[in-house]
Symmetry: C2
Subunit: 264 residues, 2 copies
């Protein structure tokens, strides 16, 4: 009877942990989740680092065919699934461990370096002021999903920072960029007219967080909207309405050191 | 002119990242922050893993004598400071990079596996429902600090989870345990009487997160209060008033796999 290891590989191949590497070397088979997150260079670097064959798992493998694909292997021995970022962020992963336990297998979770709170802390913002998180999505069938607007408004009222995740479907090649997210927020503002998304409001555009190409650009939304901040994945932070003086100083330092945006 | 590397070593010595190891091997001097976090076994394991001499930094070194102790070394070459957990969580660390930049040095931040959101995700809770974070402190001069109570109440009203950090002063040997934190919350409730901290409310007591001794115990506060959940560091989560059915299922699985509490 094998054990299921759910392993967070962190934000870039260099941020994999020693424990993750040790386990990957010891298990019978190593899968890699290609559905819930983006692997830079299609996972080539991570493959080099772990030195094992990585069997890709699609959405279908994870959500419909998990028993045939992974549980079957667990019957023969230990199995690891590598997950971009933190391994229990998506509902998909929680479902996997529940499923493994129902089949009588034990499991272990190896946490990784996550976009939350790294996006906040590396921007110099206080983690204590973290607010509810929302995902910005593309309009579907012409309908704008206003939920992120409500979350930002609520967080604003408590002077909290909002980390916005951007729509991502690695399989379909849907990977939203910061400038698109800002346009969507402006569009929602034009309908709601509650003054939550003002052009001069500070946004932090983040690209390739945790890699050597990290870009962190604190700029007014109207400026950031016209900037190329670099490679995906992207994240957008809307800072709390009132910043602590230490946050203001830190943002200045971070901007001068980590923002290499090309703005129109 | 040296460069300052602020490196998060994560929640345990096994969770150090490859990038952290690579940098530690290349710099002139390696300091370790002994003030803002706890190093299990006083840092012996981490010393073995990195294979370098680690020069301890006290609160005084970090906050008052930074120029004499660290900046002086930067003038001679690259310097790394190892920080337990995530490297920019404490205001102390933000102050360090601002200071280094003022002295004309560049810096780099290497994120680590952080208690936030790992405490939530490894408990099977949804990270999207993360609420504002508060620290529970001991009464000082007989005065109870009611701030965490207000934060929990606010988070409750938005159905968000509250991660409570517990008072910690590694130098003074002040390290709060979950049972003490619960008693303090009960005491605040007895003054406020707003029904926020009810004995049957679910709390998640977490000990040694990220190590092989990880204990995650979701139990009613009145039960958890009488449990020995294992070694420090401890963290307490108060779950949102209404749980998603996936969170409920996950909590059951996590309890059966990761809770080895001894309860009176």
């Amino acid at each position: 009877m094998g054990k299921l290891y759910l392993i967070g590989i962190g934000l870039s191949h260099e941020l994999i942990t020693l424990r993750a590497l040790k386990i990957v070397k010891s298990v019978r088979k190593v899968f890699i989740d290609k559905y819930t997150g983006i692997l830079p260079d299609n996972g080539e670097e991570i493959k080099k680092v772990v030195g094992r064959e990585l069997i890709p798992l699609s959405r279908k493998d994870l959500e419909e065919k998990f028993s045939q694909v992974v549980i079957k292997e667990l019957e023969k021995g230990d199995v690891a699934i590598l997950v971009p970022g933190d391994p229990l962020v998506a509902t998909t992963h929680i479902a996997l461990i529940i499923d493994a336990v129902k089949h009588g297998f034990s499991f272990e979770i190896i946490p990784g370096v996550s976009i939350i709170p790294t996006a906040l802390t590396m921007s110099g913002l206080m983690v204590y002021k973290i607010g509810k998180i929302a995902t910005v999505t593309y309009p579907h069938d012409g309908i704008l999903y206003e939920y992120p607007y409500n979350v930002i408004k609520e967080n604003d009222s408590r002077n909290l920072h909002t980390i916005l995740l951007l729509e991502l479907d690695a399989e379909k090649g849907i990977i939203m960029k910061v400038k698109e997210a800002i346009d969507i927020l402006f569009k929602i503002e034009s309908i709601r007219c509650e003054g939550v998304i003002r052009p001069e409001r500070l946004g932090i555009g983040i690209a390739s967080l945790g890699s050597s190409k990290t870009n962190i650009c604190p700029l007014p939304l109207k400026v950031l909207r016209n900037c190329d901040i670099g490679d995906i994945p992207h994240t957008l932070i809307l800072t709390s309405p009132k910043l602590h003086f230490m946050e203001e100083e830190a943002l200045e330092v971070i901007r001068s050191e980590f923002c290499r945006a090309v703005c129109k």
